[in-house]
């Protein structure tokens, strides 16, 4: 199978704090992959490794390999701008750029292409339709983007991301700031889009992962506990930790209570 993103023994630390530890996963093409796990376990870090936004942080040490379309993106001489162009980012909180609705979508288009005005307008319309926002904003394209409701803003962010014609969509808890209705619209949209895009969504909402995911990566304190198809992970999780997390038990408690059994299991070669 052709996997657009693959990591090999990827470790990331912020100064002393190790955020990711020997992560080796593959993200399948044209599927929704959900990265789940409790807050602060490295989910967003993993996402930011993919489009190399992590380097904006201080004291970052990255080791291991990350391949996007077969190319190691941490190789010297990688064109980071075309790498990022391959990935549309849907942020945690919708963050419109400080310009009009039209300009928000046109920003990426203008950066990467030289387009005439007519062509630009056509493309902006196309991507706003793609994000199911066109009908709500077509009469006020030149109003400031911050005037939209928060759910609309997130769809605008989607349109803006799609406009750079990415192959991959990265969602960093894309619905966590939204009301249930807006969240549902985004979820539906993602399911629709997976026909054409590879989608990676970070979420701490298990129900959402169950609804969306074809493939699940469960991260716990920087380690991959389980990574498999959604069916397997949700219906017959291999690890006790995954079982507990899916059932909504407190992980620390589970960890301590069942530590003995867990170690037994590992000793018997069942693995975590």
């Amino acid at each position: 199978m052709n996997n657009p993103i693959r990591t090999n023994l990827l470790s990331v630390s912020y100064g002393q704090h190790q955020a990711l530890n020997d992560v080796s996963i593959e993200i399948p093409a044209r599927k929704i992959t959900a990265i789940i796990g409790p807050s602060g376990c490295g989910k967003s870090t993993l996402l930011k490794v993919f489009n190399r936004l992590l380097e904006l942080n201080d004291d970052i040490i990255i080791s291991g390999e990350v391949f996007v379309d077969g190319q190691d993106i941490y190789d010297k001489g990688v064109d980071v701008y075309s790498l990022r162009k391959k990935m549309g980012l849907l942020p945690q909180k919708p963050f419109p750029l400080p310009m009009s609705i039209f300009e928000n979508v046109a920003y990426g288009l203008k950066i990467h292409n030289h387009l005439g005005k007519g062509k630009l307008e056509g493309l902006v319309e196309h991507y706003l339709k793609e994000a199911s926002l066109w009908d709500e904003v077509k009469d006020r394209l030149h109003a400031h983007a911050a005037k939209l409701s928060i759910g609309q803003q997130q769809r605008l962010c989607l349109a803006r991301g799609l406009a750079i014609e990415p192959e991959i969509i990265l969602g960093d808890e894309p619905t966590s700031a939204l009301d249930p209705f807006s969240a549902e619209r985004i979820e539906r949209k993602l399911i629709e889009l997976k026909k054409r895009y590879t989608i990676v969504v970070v979420t701490h909402n298990i129900q959402q992962a169950i609804r969306l995911a074809d493939y699940v990566v469960f991260l716990y304190y920087g380690k991959v506990v389980e990574a498999d198809t959604a069916d397997k992970v949700f219906k017959s999780p291999q690890s006790l930790m995954t079982q507990a997390y899916i059932k909504g038990e407190f992980l620390d408690e589970v960890w301590f209570d069942k530590e003995a059994r867990l170690i037994n299991k590992v000793a018997q070669g069942e693995g975590i």
Partner: protein
């Protein structure tokens, strides 16, 4: 006394102290303003604003201070433009290109803080040395360069602290769309921070237009109107200085009038630039 009472007294006492201190600050400002208006306003007339000094000297007390008004405006606008041309990109560079706790950024900020603390007469002396080096005579250009140096630290640091407040997410989003840091800096961050950057520029202008010591050697003095970058210009701060320095009450009053004019010029430039740029502010994310 119970603990609650003590805490309430503490709260009230602090409130009184703070009210007093704030009132004192406002009062000092009002007294200064009142002094200048009361002493300067009677001397304010059209001739003052539209004529050059009589017989080429402030001491005579006749004519006006148009030479100084125009000189100060040209000098300050030129210097502010020059300082902005250097300072704003530097501030953008520190905030967009460098990481949060970059040592280079710390070094730049520290340098500007030190430069900020240097008295303006030293800038004047420094400008004078450069002039001698290049065999320049005191001129509008030399004044502009010196004042630009004077404005640079305060303008850059003010812009820097504004840019620091721009949310990191905005930078991340622009970069995630495949934009370069240059595009991010000038098309997104600059736009978002524009009102604040404008304030930074005006702060710089305020420091530059009111400074007497730095222009004394570099811009020189003349009673004629400024016509060339390479000839000396008169400035309002020096007009105030010379006129207040005379023993004649009538001329001293013209000094206060000059101070009033200087304040009005700053006020006018501030309001004008705010109106001019108001339309940009609609696009700022709140």
């Amino acid at each position: 006394m119970s603990k609650i009472n003590k805490r309430i007294i503490e709260e009230k006492a602090f409130k009184i102290v703070m009210h007093t201190v704030c009132a004192a600050v406002v009062l000092i400002f009002l007294i200064m303003l009142a002094t200048i208006v009361i002493k300067g306003l009677p001397g304010l007339n059209l001739k003052m604003l539209t004529h050059q000094p009589l017989r080429g000297s402030y001491a005579e007390g006749g004519g006006g201070i148009l030479n100084a008004i125009l000189g100060s405006v040209y000098l300050a606008l030129g210097a502010t433009f020059l300082a902005g041309l250097i300072g704003i990109p530097v501030a953008l560079f520190i905030n967009v290109y460098l990481k949060k706790n970059s040592r280079f950024a710390t070094l730049i900020r520290f340098s500007f803080d030190v430069l900020w603390g240097i008295p303006s007469i030293v800038y004047g002396a420094f400008g004078f040395i450069i002039m001698i080096f290049f065999h320049m005579r005191s001129s509008l250009l030399a004044g502009i360069i010196t004042i630009a140096f004077l404005e640079l630290p305060i303008m850059t640091r003010a812009a820097d602290s504004i840019l620091k407040m721009v949310p990191l997410e905005l930078k991340e989003i622009s970069l995630s769309l495949g934009a370069t840091r240059f595009e991010t800096a000038f098309r997104i961050i600059f736009k978002q921070a524009f009102p604040g950057i404008l304030t930074a520029i005006l702060i710089g202008l305020g420091r530059g237009i009111g400074d007497a010591a730095a222009v004394m050697f570099t811009a020189g003095y003349t009673d004629s109107l400024p016509t060339s970058l390479f000839r000396p210009v008169a400035t309002l701060p020096l007009a105030i200085f010379y006129q207040l320095g005379t023993p004649f009450p009538e001329v001293q009053q013209r000094g206060y009038t000059s101070a009033l004019v200087l304040m009005l010029v700053i006020l006018f430039i501030s309001i004008f630039s705010r109106i001019l740029t108001k339309r940009f502010q609609q696009n700022v994310l709140r």
